[in-house]
């Protein structure tokens, strides 16, 4: 396989990883807020977060394009504060994959955190641990397996992102070309043989990610 193919595979893995790492802290925080706290507007936030999961990805992409475009609210802000352009760059790919994976991560994180018996947290508090300490030493380790599974799921989802990415990042070889965008592009040009190679890599990556999550889930932390 050519250098380009590996470059595309590497780029896809890399943006998916950055996107997943980016949403990990807010995803776990929101999952915790949904699992443990009651607050006004909770249902609204929950619905908004889930929206990308059920909306057409292209529609989400269009919203991101309007938001992060040069004249968009966040696009202008990024340009004036950091001096960086978002749309049609690798940053747009990261944002698209992050937004599309966020609902999956929040949902699995919420389930994982809900699975932690609040009794453990209460007892830890009576032993003198403040809320942060309880979270780091009790809640997080006990939910770790579910959280890792959620992160891997989000990563796997990010690997295959297409609709939102094509809208907000376009297909620019060497700059924004991910595996799924490249496969589509090659098939359009009737270069099916090259598409097969990318397909094989996609399957291998997705398989590897899920396999890893299975291994991580099976290997219990030292109880």
């Amino acid at each position: 396989m050519s250098f380009e193919v590996w470059q595309v595979a590497w780029f896809t893995t890399w943006v998916a990883a950055i996107g997943t790492l980016l949403i990990l802290p807010p995803g776990i925080a929101l999952g915790w807020l949904l699992a443990r706290k009651h607050w006004p507007g909770k249902t609204l936030v929950e619905t908004l977060v889930t929206l990308p999961l059920v909306m057409p990805p292209v529609a989400t992409g269009l919203m991101l394009l309007k938001l992060f475009g040069r004249r968009g609210l966040l696009g202008r802000w990024c340009e004036s504060v950091f001096g960086v352009e978002i749309v049609f760059t690798w940053r747009a790919v990261v944002i698209a994959t992050a937004v599309m994976s966020f609902p999956l991560l929040v949902r699995t994180a919420r389930l994982a955190l809900e699975g932690v018996n609040p009794r453990y947290e209460q007892v830890a508090r009576t032993l003198g641990a403040g809320p942060w300490r309880v979270f780091w030493t009790i809640t997080l380790p006990l939910a770790a397996r579910g959280l890792v599974a959620g992160a891997v799921l989000a990563f796997a989802r990010a690997l295959g992102e297409f609709g939102a990415t094509i809208m907000v990042a376009g297909f620019i070889p060497g700059r924004t070309a991910t595996l799924s965008l490249s496969i589509y592009h090659l098939v359009q040009l009737s270069r099916d043989n090259e598409a097969w190679g990318l397909l094989a890599i996609s399957v291998a990556l997705a398989f590897g990610a899920l396999w890893l999550s299975e291994i991580l889930l099976r290997k219990r932390p030292s109880l």
């Binding site: 018996n117 453990y120 209460q122 007892v123 830890a124 508090r125 009576t126 032993l127 006990l142 109880l223």
Partner: protein, 236 residues
């Protein structure tokens, strides 16, 4: 110890918890049927639940006072709590469970109760490197007691700690509670629906019914032998 619970009011699902009492005994028993509000009372004292009204003062220090909005967080109360299901942290081994409170930098006096002493008194020295999941019911309870004691609490709340154990095992664990009282001198509030346990351990007993303290007295006042060695509540 002097624990003052004044005009406490906490709405529960079917009734409200209404307690007005001053506790000073070494081991105070709270006796009542399941669902009479015993656990809720302990949770309020521990700071895990916020009462709607009333005032709780331990040895002169206000723990909560609804009127002035004071509510000390559980981690600042120095009150130990052993729940019914022992709640040993499953991802930590026995030693790590016992030392959990020691990993926290707490202001105030250094602990007067040492790890070696607690492990010896509760007879758990051989268990310290074991996984929590591998312990038997009686061992789990002793580790849970030790973990609470090692936080040097001013008061220890025990919520039906022997409930999951069979009669024989109960008889083996009760002496440990006596030793704990004598060795560490920590006052305790002991909640149970089992008259035998209350008689074996407590000096002063509150009888709780649908959230209200309906009777109070010594074990001799409240309980009578039914079929030795078992006790029942005397009729009112």
């Amino acid at each position: 110890m002097n624990l003052e619970i004044a005009h406490l009011h906490l709405p529960l699902t079917a009734f409200a918890l209404e307690v007005n009492a001053r506790l000073g005994a070494h081991i105070t028993g709270v006796f009542g049927a399941s669902g009479s509000g015993k656990t809720s009372l302990l949770e309020v004292i521990a700071g895990l639940r916020r009462p709607a009204a009333g005032r709780i003062v331990l040895d002169g220090a206000v723990l909560s006072d609804a009127a002035s909005g004071v509510f000390l967080a559980a981690e600042q109360r120095h009150i130990g709590y052993v729940p019914q299901d022992d709640a040993l942290f499953p991802h930590l081994n026995v030693r790590q469970n016992l030392c959990y409170s020691h990993t926290i930098d707490q202001p105030g006096p250094p602990p007067q109760i040492t790890y070696a002493h607690v492990v010896e008194v509760l007879d758990i020295a051989d268990l310290t490197e074991r996984r929590v999941a591998s312990l038997s019911g009686g061992e789990r309870q002793r580790v849970a007691f030790g973990r609470a004691v090692l936080a040097s609490p001013r008061l220890l709340l025990l919520d039906e700690p022997l409930d999951g154990l069979d009669a024989e095992l109960k008889q083996r664990v009760i002496p440990y509670l006596h030793t704990m009282r004598d060795e560490f001198g920590i006052p305790m509030v002991y909640v149970s629906h089992n008259a035998d346990e209350i008689v074996a351990l407590c000096d002063d007993v509150l009888l709780l019914e649908r959230g209200c303290c309906v009777r109070r007295g010594t074990c001799a006042d409240l309980f009578a032998v039914s079929q030795a060695p078992h006790y029942i509540l005397k009729p009112d």
